[in-house]
């Protein structure tokens, strides 16, 4: 269980999150959506204990603000929106860095397994800095995956926090990565992911939080949050949501046009 209550966060004197509440449940994929600059990454930074904030975040009954890095690392992995890398590491070496946070003996076999999951088998010996943006993002995902490989460990769920995991990816790899999140949740783990693609979100998320200008406008099932009015208002453009007949659960925001103002 992840509960965040009354999260207020600032950069310098500018407050960018104003008392946000947010919850996520293990076994589900929970998405955070909202326009650029609305505070999604900032919320992720609070949820993962990266930045200081007012309010409380509990992850598996652990107070995130006061937990030690190694305590948090044992239960959750974090994929940042972008990851600069100093020094010329190979793909295998980058993924292996993710193993360093736990007991690593005998876990080396996870590296090829993780690379296989993100579709990078054959890239082991390539230099990270010489990969494309989407390939780099998938290497980082593999690094995060080896850190929390088992979705449930010692009877409690583990978590993946993903900030825009698919924004740099082509459609095939988008589906592949979302399926990884889906499988992790189905196996009992928790996934919190920032998304821009509302269609993918509707397809893969069980629960969505919509942020606008530092406020959590709505949180709930995608079909409840993705309404014409809420999306149009949050994104500042006309969005019409349609339910695809094939499946009751998935929705298509189509016919989006710029708001005429």
């Amino acid at each position: 269980m992840l509960t965040a209550t009354g999260i207020t966060a600032s950069y310098g004197r500018r407050e960018v999150l104003h008392g946000v509440n947010f919850d996520a449940t293990a076994g589900q994929v929970t998405a955070i959506v909202g326009p650029n600059g609305s505070g999604k990454t900032t919320l992720m930074r609070a949820l993962t204990g990266e930045n200081v904030f007012d309010g409380v975040v509990f992850l598996n009954d652990q107070d995130v603000a006061s937990a030690k890095p190694w305590q948090l690392a044992a239960v959750r992995g974090v994929l940042p929106q972008s990851t600069p890398l100093a020094f010329p590491f190979t793909v295998v070496e980058v993924v292996r860095l993710g193993l360093a946070s736990g007991l690593t003996a005998g876990r080396g076999h996870l590296i090829p397994a993780a690379l296989d999951r993100v579709g990078l088998t054959g890239f082991e010996g390539r230099f990270y800095q010489e990969l494309s943006g989407g390939e780099q993002q998938r290497v980082q995902l593999a690094r995060v995956l080896v850190q929390v490989w088992e979705p449930v460990a010692d009877g409690s769920p583990r978590w993946l926090f993903l900030d825009e995991p698919v924004s740099a990816l082509d459609i095939g790899h988008q589906l592949q990565v979302m399926q990884i999140a889906r499988d992790f949740a189905n196996a009992g783990g928790g996934v919190v992911t920032v998304m821009h693609d509302l269609n993918l979100t509707a397809m893969f998320a069980d629960n969505v939080g919509l942020i606008s200008e530092g406020h959590m406008v709505a949180q709930g099932a995608p079909e409840d949050v993705f309404t014409d009015q809420q999306l149009s208002h949050a994104y500042g453009c006309k969005v019409r949501v349609n339910t695809a007949p094939a499946s009751g659960t998935f929705l298509l925001p189509h016919a989006a046009t710029m708001a005429a103002e």
């Binding site: 940042p80 190979t90 793909v91 070496e93 860095l97 360093a100 090829p112």
Partner: protein
Amino acid sequence: MTVLTQNPARPHLAGDRSRIATNMTFVLVVLLVLASLFSLAIGAAGTSLWQGLSDLAMGRDLSLRDRVVLFDIRLPRTVMGILVGAALAVSGAVMQGLFRNPLADPGIVGVSAGAAFGAIVAIVLGGYLPAAIAASLGYYVVPAAAFVGSWVSTIILYRVSTRKGRTSVATMLLAGIALGSLTGAFSGVLIYIADDAQLRTLTFWGMGSVAGATWSKVLAALPLIAIALGVAPFLARGLNGLALGEAAASHMGISVQRTKNTAILTVAGATGAAVAVSGGIGFVGIVVPHLLRLMTGPDHRFLLINSALLGAALLLVADVISRTVIAPAELPIGIVTATIGGPFFFWVLLRQRGILDM
């Protein structure tokens, strides 16, 4: 519980350079042993000690002259070369990991200058220390002062050039220049007021040399360097994590603040002690880690240890060169390392140009 849990034979993965890096460690140990033998055997004025060394190995007695040359002149000089070379190379490697940049080097960004300033303060003003303190610190006054000097410089440099866990390379290099000239100016003032005897000490020391190594100097440098070299391997995981940035390192369970503090102290200790006993020997800290990263990758679990070994071996070789090229006179070793290291630094700069343009 099975006691005999064996690691399944690890299949070799492409891109996993840990085996090459481990083999490199063995190669470097051999290289260091060879360099040490050369350093012991070869010296000025044809006093080759190969015969003496083999006599010693066979358990035969040495002549008095050979014994004096070997144990009172060559051996302390060799040990000093090993200590200083290892310290400089490890300082460079740790500093580069801390700043996430291959151009960070104590000599280039003013940390050695800070150490030198500390040492000069101790040499020139040491006489004003209360007798009790001076007596209790003994040989360690100069290294201790150099340590403080390099520590303060590293902290200032880190504060100025790093923001939210990202180092601006340009700011780091410029801050290094400012720091170097500032401490250089302070040092100049002290040199100006130094008396003749102190001046002679300073001049000799400032050229950068392990000549004139004595056991007392070795002992003076030993504690700080031994601690720094002993601590460095524990930094490996933290520095590896920092390569992904502070946030990612923390997410992986690394205590970032502790890693940074330890790294700064390690750099300060190793640089301070090395500068205190050998003056300004430049470029070891940048050449050695860079070569090793090219050959065996940037993983600090191997890089730090291998840097210590290669740094020690390289400094011994440079020292042998320095005492033989213009024999019977000696070239200060700082000149030898600068002649090799200067062009090397240019080369690194050219390779890094894309990053510097930021």
